[in-house]
């Protein structure tokens, strides 16, 4: 299955957060619960897909020298749309995410995809790319928030009241605090580096056998 292999490759071996180290700030800041990570992930996917589509649609009209400011204005417009919509329809989540919702505009993943992919490819493939990269970020954030939720709070809260509480009798509250985020992400980065190193070693070994 080539699509599955591509997906595995995109999520594990070139994960935007754990391997490419992009979009770290929101990954640490909003991952105190699955609900926050899920909400933030939806916003990132929305902005990423729409900015990718818009930029690839108008790429032939943008003068090369001013392309970055144009991209930033397009992204900022969609971030404003997301902010106003969240404030109106999901005010609780809006308060929880706070500043970080507005700061999607400086998330390097979005500008990075605009520059590296959407400015060179067709509208439809930019659309697919936006969804893929957005899901990659969301999965990474969900992984971090799952670990932090279970260990730091003893609960898995998916949305509102839906979820499991009281998994651990005495949760390690520190994992849910800001510095616990650094520890969780640090250990996950090491785990991804370990997987990557082992894959590299395996392919090197194969090469040796062939000789």
């Amino acid at each position: 299955m080539p699509i599955l292999a591509d997906l595995k490759n995109a999520i594990i071996y070139s994960n935007p957060v754990f391997v490419l180290l992009l979009g770290l700030c929101p990954t640490l800041a909003v991952t105190t619960s699955l609900e926050n990570a899920l909400g933030m992930g939806m916003c990132v996917i929305f902005v990423l897909v729409l900015s990718n589509v818009t930029i690839s649609a108008i790429k032939n009209f943008i003068p090369h020298q001013v392309r970055i400011p144009v991209y930033i204005v397009i992204i900022a417009t969609y971030v404003t749309v997301v902010n106003l919509a969240m404030e109106a329809y999901l005010p609780d989540l809006y308060d929880q995410l706070g500043l970080y919702l507005e700061l999607i505009v400086v998330n390097c993943i979005i500008l990075g995809r605009a520059e590296a992919f959407a400015s060179r490819n067709s509208v439809s493939s930019s659309f697919v790319d936006g969804i893929g990269v957005g899901i990659g970020w969301t999965l990474a954030a969900l992984l971090v928030s799952f670990i932090r939720g279970v260990m730091g709070n003893g609960s898995i809260i998916i949305w509102g009241d839906i979820g499991i509480r009281g998994i651990l009798e005495t949760p390690a509250t520190a994992i849910g605090l800001p510095y616990g985020g650094f520890l969780t992400v640090g250990v996950l980065l090491a785990a991804f580096a370990y997987i990557g190193n082992r894959k590299k070693q395996k392919s090197e070994c194969k090469g040796v056998e062939r000789w």
């Binding site: 700030c25 404003t80 507005e102 510095y179 520890l183 640090g186 580096a193």
Partner: protein, 191 residues
Amino acid sequence: MVDYMAIIIGAMFINNFVLVRFLGLCPFFGVSRKTSSALGMGLAVIFVMTVASVVTSVIYIYLLEPRGLDFMKIVVFILVIAGLVQLIEMAIRKYSPDLYKSLGIFLPLITTNCAVLGVALLNVSTDYGLIPSVVNGLASGAGFTLALLIMSGVRERLELADVPEAFKDIPVAFVSAMFMGMGFAGFSGVV
């Protein structure tokens, strides 16, 4: 005066931009390998954050808010900051080539530093006036520089340490950041 002290201590220690608010992590891990470059980056961030706080507060208080255009703040602020960084870069290159040599390479990186936009948005969302905004910008930049300098000292030592293969470089820096964060968590409740 007490208010300003509260803002300064709050922005530098209690709500440290890097360790508590998680803003500006890319330069925090990217430029902290050597103390000298960390200092250069830190000074550039202090400078840009202070100037950006002044300009964005003036624009927000006198231009956007009276006309009911506050929903435009994200678009306006990001453009203002990007333009400002360009302008500062040009001015420094013209008037102080020495300073440009030491800070120049860091300035373009600052445009995409979420800490600068973060402090501008924070100033307006907490309803700071012009002077408190400037104080907040200066103190936040100083807090960022403090964290960056400590981190660079730790990482210079880590170069010599025997770290497991998978933890090398960035992962061990994250774990060190955790210990720094624990230290800074001790400041909570000071003000």
